[in-house]
């Protein structure tokens, strides 16, 4: 049994009629994900890829049973879409949308916490538990079912590393992108805790990048809890010039904290194997698991 999503996940797609929403609904359906309904305001009473579309989450849930939602609606409306899912009792929400204003995200995350809901993202590739459920936009063919859990701050780097693991015979239990926006629903520590309790997961890969201190806090947690499963990591941005923004606010370097060096040192001190190149992760894990 993987974490968060599995065979029993039944999802709605918010923003299903948009270009990305529609395209990835098709791919998720092809992967076998149970997409029971879609929501796009003003497009109710239509169908897309044979999935019925409703104007509101409320109506979708009156007519279908669902326990998860994946959100593709544009950033200015995304916080409201998350709230709509939360208010209608959905406890697993994957937010693909990127660039949600910080103010909106903070307010929504606080409510999600009160409701005991799990928000993946925003600005995440989503989550996949191979052969069970894909709630995201990742290219499915690079994943295989197995025993490695992946937690990542970077979408495309996740694919890079997952593909390399698969090529080396290391399948995955669940791969999850925390999301690249400044405020996200989950951090490394949250997911490390879940993988710890998950019997299918035997090792964890942590993919970080410069900026913030989430990797340092993960290292602290691993040390403090004497984390019982092997962890390997890759940190992007070793060669980034200090003080420059690399793509999103997540990558502002402030003084020493948040540099690749700081993160790598903290993780190594916690007993984590840190790879020099993405393709080195597989080798490090194989050594640990043998």
């Amino acid at each position: 049994m993987p974490i968060i999503v599995n065979k029993n996940t039944k999802a709605i797609v918010q923003g299903i009629t948009g270009k990305q929403g529609s395209f990835h609904t098709k791919l998720m359906l092809e992967y076998g994900t149970k997409i029971v309904a879609g929501v796009t305001p003003g497009k109710g009473r239509t169908r897309i890829h044979n999935v019925p579309v409703y104007d509101t989450v409320e109506e979708a849930l009156e007519k279908h049973e669902a326990n998860a939602s994946i959100i593709f609606v544009p950033a200015p409306f995304a916080a409201d879409a998350i709230l709509e899912a939360l208010e209608n009792g959905i406890k697993t929400i994957v937010t693909i949308t990127e660039h949600i204003p910080i103010k909106d995200a903070i307010s929504v995350m606080s409510y999600a916490k009160q409701q005991g809901a799990t928000i993946i993202g925003p600005n995440t590739p989503g989550i996949i538990s191979p052969e069970e459920c894909k709630l995201g936009i990742m290219p499915a063919h690079i994943f295989r079912k197995g025993n490695v859990g992946i937690i990542s701050r970077s979408g495309t780097l996740t694919y890079e590393i997952a593909a390399s693991l698969t090529r080396n015979g290391l399948g995955q239990s669940t791969c999850l992108g925390l999301g690249g926006d400044p405020i996200t629903g989950l951090n490394f520590v949250d997911v490390l805790k879940m993988f710890r309790e998950d019997p299918q997961t035997e090792a964890v890969v942590l993919i970080g990048e410069i900026g913030g201190n989430l990797e340092e806090l993960a290292a602290e947690y691993i040390t403090k809890e004497n984390y019982p499963k092997p962890v390997a990591a890759f940190i992007a941005g070793r060669t980034a010039p200090p003080g420059k923004r690399m793509g999103h606010a997540g990558a502002i370097i402030m003084g020493k904290a948040g540099t690749a060096e700081s993160k790598i040192e903290a993780l190594k001190n916690a007993g984590v194997d840190v790879a020099e190149k993405p393709s080195d992760i597989a080798g490090l894990l194989l050594r640990k698991l043998s």
């Binding site: 270009k19 950033a75 204003p101 495309t156 996200t184 990048e209 913030g212 923004r245 020493k256």
Partner: protein
């Protein structure tokens, strides 16, 4: 988006935060005129968006109008940390008793805003943060009801104030918070917030960084960002207009990729194999062929670029769209520079087919591709 000191101060003043009287000048004559309406002594401050302006000589003091004129002239002809000074702010110099710090920023781990205060502010604040963090007051702001009057008073008390000074600080802290909320600030700070010798408080310097993701709610600033008065390189400006993230670097390998993490890892890998990237360019998720074409144009406008490395791992980005964008741009711009393309993921087969039909070779491994592009630039 960083705001200039004069912008930040005028916002704070509208929220009831006391700021020194002053005005903005683009030449020494204007500076003289502004100063003539103020009381000496004066401070003349270069308006640049870099940190550490004071230590870099960007702030001068003057006793007389002629000294203001000379100071303005000097600043307007200098560069602060390589940025040319286009405007100066002239204000009345404050008679300082004590320098405090107060600011609000985001706390990612706790998913909230956090207020940070210190009764030892000024240029040393970063040193304090590093060496004696216990001197900083950190107050997490509950997202449910925000930063309230009594939170401000709790902080003022911990900074050692009471009586009317406590009430004055309450107003200032609340004003700053409300400005931050209304302007979607990811950082808003007064450093120093000065306690004057007569016991009043003045924001002697102020800084606001607006949340880029919220600029759609602040079109006037978005406009200012895109229409000049910013310190961006032409390529950076062009990138923002096209929704791309671009950072100029000093090497000769132009890099385009999707996802900040992947692009950073691409730079790292190029360096690992001994190459030097010319830039960071992230096309983001779900880029259209037009966006890819715009990215190529920006990267190629850098004359140092000898070869291109396009690294796309499609998730929400579709490889066929990328392939079409590359062909489009090559055709329009008659690209002759050697290009190494790595393309895998969503609609990979279709993308590869499009490029192959156009005679372009596509690699599958980032590392092989990186080695290849480094090799090409070495030969060139």
């Amino acid at each position: 988006m960083k705001l200039f000191e004069y912008e930040a101060k005028s916002i704070l003043a509208r929220y009831g935060v006391p700021t020194p009287k002053g005005g903005l000048a683009t030449n020494s004559k204007e500076a003289w005129e502004i100063a003539s309406k103020l009381k000496p002594p004066f401070a003349v401050k270069a308006q640049v968006l870099v940190a550490g302006r004071g230590k870099a000589g960007g702030i001068l003091f003057a006793e007389s109008l002629s000294e203001v004129e000379r100071a303005a002239e000097k600043l307007l002809s200098m560069r602060v940390k390589d940025i040319p000074v286009r405007k100066v702010w002239i204000e009345e110099k404050i008679r300082i008793k004590r320098e405090l710090y107060f600011g609000i920023t985001t706390d990612r781990f706790n998913r909230s805003y956090v207020a940070i205060a210190s009764s030892v502010g000024g240029m040393e604040i970063e040193e304090i943060a590093e060496k004696t963090p216990e001197k900083l007051i950190k107050f997490l702001i509950n997202p449910q009801h925000g930063f309230r009057s009594f939170h401000a008073r709790q902080i003022a008390r911990k900074m050692g104030y009471s009586g009317s000074q406590l009430l004055e600080l309450e107003k200032i802290f609340l004003g700053l918070y409300r400005a931050g909320v209304d302007y979607d600030a990811e950082l808003i700070e007064m450093n120093p917030l000065t306690e004057t010798i007569d016991g009043r408080f003045v924001a002697a310097d102020a800084r606001i960084i607006m949340d880029d993701n919220a600029l759609f709610r602040h079109q006037e600033f978005r406009k200012r960002l895109l229409e000049g008065e910013s310190e961006l390189a032409p390529q950076e400006l062009e990138a923002i207009k096209n929704g791309l993230a671009y950072v100029k670097l000093n090497g000769n390998i132009g890099v385009i990729g999707n996802g900040a993490g992947l692009v950073m890892a691409t730079l790292d890998t190029i360096k690992y194999y001994g190459g030097e990237p010319a830039n960071f360019l992230d096309v983001g998720g779900g880029a259209s062929s037009e966006k890819i074409a715009a990215a190529l144009k920006i990267v190629l406008s850098d004359p140092n670029v000898k070869a291109l490395f396009i690294n796309i791992l499609g998730g929400i980005t579709r490889c066929d769209e990328v392939a079409r964008g590359i062909l489009e741009a090559r055709e329009k711009m008659r690209v002759t520079k050697p290009t190494v393309i790595r393309l895998v993921g969503t609609n990979e087969e279709e993308g590869k087919k499009i490029l192959k039909e156009a005679g372009i070779h596509v690699l599958e491994s980032m590392e092989t591709a990186a080695q290849k592009v480094v090799e090409i630039t070495r030969q060139g």
